[in-house]
Chain length 310, copies 2
């Protein structure tokens, strides 16, 4: 394993306010959400997927998206705020409410796209054509391709399929891309294979990787990505997150674990794991469901967790 040619820096996009909060069954009151987001920003996070403009019927947890976006924009104009949108309607509502970075999502695999978005992939690409005109005049458009590595229904997604979608999306003129390992079961050889096939097609467009940690593979996949020059990652404080249509999938790689890993390998993130652990502990103390590795260990040192035997 080579450690001599890692990227010097990495960018981390915090997705807990979107992917994490939507995975918590109960609606987190807006004031509480704003408090958590404040704590994340205070811990140094300067890029964040802050909410999602989806139907409140589909995801009632994020029914306050307009309020959250507006308020955080007002308080923190310096933070890069992304909002997830699954369709034109969401994208329009996001822009009306001041969104400056739209993250349009669809899945590489037909069956997951159908379950998650209720569209064929071709229909999702057509919908993207209708969203593209919203970009410009200070609005950026990003596209997230879910199940870019593994599909909960179809298994391994072929790199060629993902490559074709990356080319199709890039040709439409988006400002960045995100490839998601939605279910967290992809082995690093397969993960690296897809990235190797996709990399030459990116043509300078920033590409984020969004990695869930279901089978404990997140950090080894991050290492595989770093080896190929990828250095933008989504992660969620406390390891929160999931996908309603990926049965058995666990949360995102925890931001604090990722920062410990990257900083330990000499890849600068501008963040400190200890500050992030404090926020993760607070989420756990407030009864949110999951917990990353560093936070669990931090609790266990006080005899408050399940990690330490006695």
């Amino acid at each position: 394993m080579d450690f001599s040619r890692l990227p010097k820096t990495a960018a981390i996009r915090e997705v807990c306010p979107r992917d994490g909060f939507q995975s918590v069954k109960e609606f987190i009151p807006t004031e509480k959400k704003l408090d958590y987001i404040e704590a994340m920003i205070a811990a140094g996070l300067d890029e964040m997927e802050v909410t999602s403009f989806v139907s409140p019927k589909a995801i009632p947890q994020l029914a306050d998206s307009a309020e959250v976006l507006t308020e955080i924009r007002r308080r923190h104009p310096e933070v890069r705020l992304t909002v997830l949108v699954p369709n034109l309607k969401g994208a329009e509502r996001a822009v009306e409410n001041g969104a400056r970075i739209l993250n349009y999502v669809f899945s590489a695999s037909e069956s997951h796209n159908k379950a998650n978005i209720n569209r064929t992939v071709a229909e999702s690409l057509n919908e993207l054509d209708r969203i593209v005109p919203l970009a410009g005049n200070g609005v950026e458009l990003s596209v997230s391709i879910a199940t870019s590595f593994m599909c909960p229904f179809e298994g391994r997604v072929s790199p060629e399929r993902v490559a074709g979608l990356v080319e199709a999306v890039r040709a439409k003129g988006v400002q960045s891309l995100c490839l998601a390992e939605t279910i967290g079961t992809c082995l690093p050889n397969d993960f690296a294979e897809t990235l190797t096939v996709v990399r030459p097609l990116l043509d300078g467009i920033p590409a984020y990787l969004h990695i869930h940690d279901t089978y404990g593979l997140a950090l080894v996949n991050v290492k595989a990505a770093l080896d190929l020059g990828f250095n933008r990652f989504d992660s969620a404080i406390g390891g929160l997150g999931g996908c309603p249509f990926a049965p058995g999938a666990a949360g995102n790689v925890a931001t604090e674990d990722l920062v410990y890993f990257l900083e330990g390998l000499g890849v600068e993130t501008g963040l400190r794991a200890a500050a992030l652990v404090s926020v993760a502990r607070r989420l756990k103390e407030d009864g949110l469901a999951t917990m990353g590795h560093l936070a669990a260990s931090s609790f266990a040192r006080e005899g408050r967790g399940g990690a330490c035997p006695e």
Copy 2:
């Protein structure tokens, strides 16, 4: 990340009956322990650290070591059974009770050895001299060096210190070695550095790696080890385990997670992850404290775990 030069096979030594069961607060009744061990053997595990001959005052959970060893030896003469011993007294008792592989443990770092064994490292090496004569006539002697990478009190343990200890131990004529990442916080660059320094000194002696998963680094460290040709691993079904004197340390890498990883990379273990997950689920259903990634995901698919959001 290179996947073309991995070892073709790997050996897995199941340590749940020792490292796992000692980490469960309540005494697991002997019949229950035997049932679990039977299930592990039925799942294909053919090498196992089955108990520990320590003072029942120090570790009451394993007070039935003689009975467990005798019974599993009688039922399964084909399984390679190791027993952990912290001193001459334990080693003698183990041999009297039919142990065929002794695993003598001490720590590379002075402060952890003091906390765990109440000896200096020099005293532990002297004690080893008294144990060596027990080997031979069908009795093998292995030595585990705890805190070979990180110490909970001293931080990073220098590779040179570990190399010196490996040389000292090997010179005494042991049949195998084990290097333990006792606290599970070592980054893969440091992990690989220690293995790189130690490797030339092994001189053909089989070397196991014992890796806890506290910060989610177990599998990336396994990959780093494979890259250096190491292919013997300790692991515990369900990720059970810990160290009473490593505050905040989590359990071992889960056997089922390790098998999924190795088999997925084409490294043959002779084991199937699905069979191991069944045993891990049983341990969890019986109220034992921890759970590996695959087992957690398996429960979550049924809506019974915390991994899946809805």
